[in-house]
Each structure stands twice: as C-alpha cells, then as structure tokens.
Symmetry: C2
Subunit: 329 residues, 2 copies
C-alpha cells in the first residue's frame, strides 16, 4: 500500500539555485542560478535561505511566464525549525500553501502530494519546492560554522540549494507517472553524524515496496536516484535491497554523490539536505530527460526524522523515503 | 482559488487526548483520554508528547477496530522542531506517512489533504492528526516552564492535547464536504506573545475567500470555529471579516476560548497549539454533530509561521489558516 498512479500530470518546468560549493562541483553547468555569497545579501543565514527560496521561485515564474494566479497550490518545506526557510521565502506570494515536513525527502513528498492534487482535479497546477542551506543546517543541528568543529568521516555536507517544480495537466515532455508514499523505518541508528545509515533502511523499504506493488523491474529505469544517502548509505541501501531480492546497483545513483566531487572537494560522505535532491533533480536530471538521455527515472527522497534534541535524549533516528517515477513522453 | 469539494469523504471516527489543565476545563466530559502526569510516564517532555500521540492513535484504532493495513496514509504534524512529536509517536506503525507543517493549522491541513487523497481515490482511507504539549512548546519557543517567567496578558496557553481523525469513503454520520487551502498573510505583527493578532489576518482571508468562492453564507453554519485565536484574535478576526462585508460574530467560536474557562483558569488570552483545535473538534464538536446538535460547521485552523529565532531576528510573524466544512448527513 502506498503506490499511487497518475495519468495526466506533467512537469511543466523546474528551477534550481545553488551556492558556491555546489557551483564548484561536477553539476555546475546544469543549475539555473547560483550565488557566491553565503548570505545571499541578507543579514543572517536563515534569511539567506529564504532569499534563495524567493529567488529560485521567482526564476521559475520568469522561465514559465507564471503569475500567482496560475499556481493552484504551493507545497514545500525545508530543514529549518518550523520550516521558516520556505514560509518566509514565499510570503510575498498570494498562493494557497501547504507546508510539508519530510526532512530531506521533502521534495519527493511535495512532488507526490502535488501530483495527487493535480491528478485529482483539486487544483489546476502546483509548485513543489524544498531547500536547505549549509550554514543554517550546521548551526541548527550541530555547531555554528564559525566554530570550525571537526566532522567525522561519515558526516555529510548540507547542500546550499533550492529546487522548485511546476506540475500541470498541460502536456509537456516529462510526465510524473507514479509514486509511493514512504513509511517511517527506524533502523536503530543513534549517531547524528551518520545520516546515510539512518536513512538507508527507509529507502530500501520504499524501493522494495515500489517494485513489489507497481509490478515494474529496476531494468525499466535509466536511473534510480536516492536523495542524499552519501557514500555510506549508498552501499547500505544496495545491500538491503539485494537482501530483499532486487539488484539496483547498476543504475543506482545518489544525489549526495552526484553534486560534489568527493576526490577534489572535502565533503566527507557527500552532500545532503532538502536542497540536494531538489537541485540534482530539478537542475540536472530533468534536463537530461528533456535532452532524451534518460527515459524513466525513480527519484527517491530520503529523510532522517531527528531534531537537534532527539540524539541528546538518546533516541534513535527514524528515516522515511518517498519516491516518484518520472517518464519522458 | 483554493476551495476544494468532496463528495464521498466521511469522518469515520476521532479521538482526543488531553492533559490535566484541559481536563479541568469546561470540555472535560467530551475528551476520550486524559493524563494527569505532564510527563505521560516518560523521561522528557518531548517524549511525553510522542507518548500522548501514540496513546491517542492507539485509542482511535481500538475504537474503530483498525489495523495498520486499514489506513492508507497517516498525515500529521506538531509544533516540535522537525515535527518529532508526531514522527516518534507513530514510528511503531507501518503505515505510509506524510509529514505536514502548518503550525497550529496543522489539523485542518491534515483533514484537507487527507480528504483530497481519499476523494481522489489515491488511498482508501486516511488518518489526520496533530498535537501539542504545553511544556515542550514553552521550552522550545519561550522559556523552560521551570523558570516561572511572567507572561503578558496577550499570551496564550499551549494546549496539551492530541487529536486524530479517521477519514474514509464508507458512509458515516459526518461528511467532510469541502475545504479551502490557506494563503500566507503577514499582518506585520512582531510580538511573539500575541499570536492571536498575528493569525487573525490569515483567518479573515481564508474565511472571506471561502464564503466568496463557495457561494455559501455564514447563516448556513451552526458554528464557525477558529482554532486558537484566543480573546485578542477573536475580536480582530470578526472585525476584519466585517470589513470584508460578512458577519460571523453570532456563530463564531474559538477553540482557545472553548477549551479553558478564562474566569477560573489562569490562561490569559486562552488556549493555543496544534492540540487545541484537534481536541476541541475531535473531542467536542464532532460529538455534538453526532448528537444532532450541530448540522454544519466550518473549522478554521489558524497557524503562526514563526520559530524561536525569527522574532529575535526582528522578523514579523506570518500567519496561515486552512478550513474544512463538516456536515451531518
């Protein structure tokens, strides 16, 4: 249970905005906008994240020639406490808004819920969006970046990035074909510096359920892209899926490994954050789909459902993963 | 834009669990469960909130004779950073989960999205839920309760409560008839101790849009119930709606004023929090509907989209309000 099918939901367009480190990575040519200043010209990192969200949505509107009244609903969220990155970033718009929280799986959750609302005829169109910022995430979950604290090898680097996707019933070259709503899976991991291991069991659960319920096989996909499992989580999810009787390794990629060059950039286990899959999918993958290089992909957003207090209270880190299947038509 | 209609979505049942102060208030006889211990037997307040969520959902399952496989999707959230009250409260269940964040409007958002998913045929049934706990909210947004800090007269008291609602296509005495997705409205309020004023403009926007788009009139409703505007916000929203050309005062109630006796209980402007409307609606109002005393109500969840940092960064407090119309059939 959890697999949902759509017939007439199309990706009208997307926009991806990133920061300096992401722009120095291998996907630099694919992003729509970037900013060298970590503050995005604002007085605080939190306001910087909202400014990034605002600019990215403005760019999508410009690209697609959209006005507020053309968007039936905005759906989105981020990693900031009470999702203020998104709410402050969009508050100048007069558009119905549904706030979502799925940690780093949020963009997949937004695409999934947005597609259901469009397919169900409740709204004519939707924009799904998610963001993260290295400096806000560090000081909220771990330490202020100014401390320069040491990071263990399993740590990941939160992507500074915002992605937005316009969903519509107007036919376009990419269709949101189906998706699956994730379940919470708690693998018992308590190390807040090992998000890959915390999220891998949920990713494996979603992937196995999706292939079990949809009747599809991994070979039908040009890419199965997890959001931000990083190097540690990548191997774990392949192993867990293998134990479940499926092989995804030949076509499995991870957003956290695509966005940075781990040989040249000091990013430990790779990128993470809501902005990771949002920008890798919205900037890179959908453009490769439009270019005809990828026909069908499964985007699996992966989220770790902790906050700054739960590991201090010795609680384990539950994970969740939502997935959407995008097809070139 | 934003109004959505349902034809075949029914409220199969609900459950409401509260704490000691709520049980000492005027609605005491209507709640399903209560707990005198603020810790709900757990070592921390945050774990207490999750335990309350867990017990309340377990009670709904027991009342309705539900198993995990009978629920197509759980939708919910709370006020804790990264919505851990909900995710830790439900993690023992194996049910597809969509995390929502709408601050104190979350239960209305959950009922709205859940009804769209059920009506659209994407899931056979859904549970919408939301919670808050006085002690977690105080220490997260303001000061640890142990400090005993003074609260200004406009302050509200966060309800310790959890509500859960089972949505199904199986006919039952109450129907979720329609709803409206709220927009963010920022009235420029910067006082984090005056949530009623911060949320009133969004509530008025949603109420005016709903009546404008649906073609209904306030007189068709036995009650128009805002979530948690409190005494200050109640007057403001009536005035703003009046300026918009509608009169709701004769049938307007507020969850924050229903749940506590402001003459006897020292609650300043009234109750607030995700748990306020969740328990007033799920415990009190729907039972009065079942008893035939209320035929049609509009439940307007009201949320303030701040976090602990945004007022310190001198940012204003945007509000949002989602509404659902429930009808006795």
């Amino acid at each position: 249970m959890g697999t949902v099918r759509f017939g007439d939901v199309y990706l009208g367009g997307s926009s991806a905005t990133v920061g300096k480190k992401e722009m120095a990575g291998p996907l630099r040519e694919w992003f729509d906008l970037h900013e060298e200043d970590e503050y995005f010209g604002m007085p605080t990192f939190e306001q910087a994240e909202s400014e990034m969200v605002r600019r990215n949505l403005a760019h999508l509107f410009e690209k697609m020639n959209l006005k507020d009244e053309d968007v039936g609903v905005l759906l989105g969220g981020d990693l900031l406490n009470q999702c203020t990155g998104t709410s402050f970033g969009i508050k100048s718009h007069s558009i119905p808004f549904l706030g979502l929280y799925g940690a780093c799986s949020t963009i997949a959750e937004g695409l999934l819920v947005g597609s259901m609302l469009v397919q169900g005829g409740f709204v004519p169109s939707a924009v799904a969006m998610a963001s993260s910022h290295y400096c806000t995430a560090e000081r909220q979950y771990r330490f202020p970046p100014e401390y320069g604290n040491q990071r263990p090898p399993t740590a990941q680097y939160t992507v500074t990035g915002a992605g937005a996707f316009y969903l519509t019933r107007v036919p376009s070259p990419i269709r949101i074909a189906e998706g699956i709503i994730g379940r919470i899976v708690d693998g018992g991991i308590t190390d807040a510096n090992n998000m890959g291991a915390a999220m891998a069991p949920a990713a494996a659960d979603t992937i196995l359920r999706y292939f079990g319920e949809s009747g599809r096989r991994p070979e039908e996909f040009d890419a199965i892209v997890t959001g931000d499992l990083g190097r540690e989580g990548l191997e774990l999810v392949q192993e867990l899926v293998h134990q479940g009787g499926l092989e995804i390794a030949p076509r499995h990629m991870d957003g956290g490994l695509l966005i940075f060059d781990l040989k040249k950039q000091d990013m430990h286990c790779g990128g993470s954050g809501c902005g990771c899959l949002s920008t890798v999918l919205g900037g890179y993958l959908v453009k490769r789909m439009r270019a005809g290089e990828l026909k069908r992909i499964l985007a699996v957003g992966t989220g770790a459902l902790l906050n700054a207090s739960t590991p201090l209270q010795k609680l384990s880190i539950p994970g969740i993963a939502h997935a959407v299947c995008l097809e070139a038509v």
